[in-house]
Symmetry: C2
Subunit: 71 residues, 2 copies
DNA sequence: ACTTAATGCAATATATATCTTACAATATCG
DNA sequence: CGATATTGTAAGATATATATTGCATTAAGT
């Protein structure tokens, strides 16, 4: 399970909403750094945080996160 | 973000596939205990693991995990 | 060019997801 | 009932998600 790469569209979804990293972070209750690292693909966030990011950006989970190569 | 409750249908999806907790655990590369605790709602799994659970059960993310009350 | 907002990045600390091992409880089937 | 498979659960250890602080870099606007 470790070698698996995950892609995400958090940055695109955030920018579409006109939000800064800090604003999105405040909306979902994490720090700006956490958002930045998730967008950079360096973090493997928990499902709870992903669900809050989906709600905050108006996207669904499957539109935000997927296994690289499977879409 | 902490008080938020997450619901999931991992157990239903697993049983539909005719898999035991241990078989599903082996498929996605975690331990049986991890699967049991996720099904019991006591763990907040990472998106990577959730994506592997979705792939292994033939469901999509949004069908497996959601915010309690929002569906 | 200067100022400010926004982002990138790094080190250290903390919280928690996951593992390991073990045993108890429950279901299934002879 | 007895045997085996499956699941529940708990304590302690490890890995990693996230926080905190600080500073560098980039973008936007004046």
């Amino acid at each position: 399970m470790d070698e698996l790469e995950i892609d995400n569209r958090v940055k695109l979804a955030r920018v579409e909403k006109g939000l800064t990293q800090e604003e999105l972070a405040d909306l979902v209750g994490v720090t700006r750094q956490t958002i930045g690292l998730i967008e950079a693909g360096k973090y493997n966030p928990t499902i709870k945080l992903c669900l809050m990011l989906a709600r905050a950006t108006g996207k669904d989970l499957d539109g935000l996160f997927w296994i690289r190569g499977e879409r």
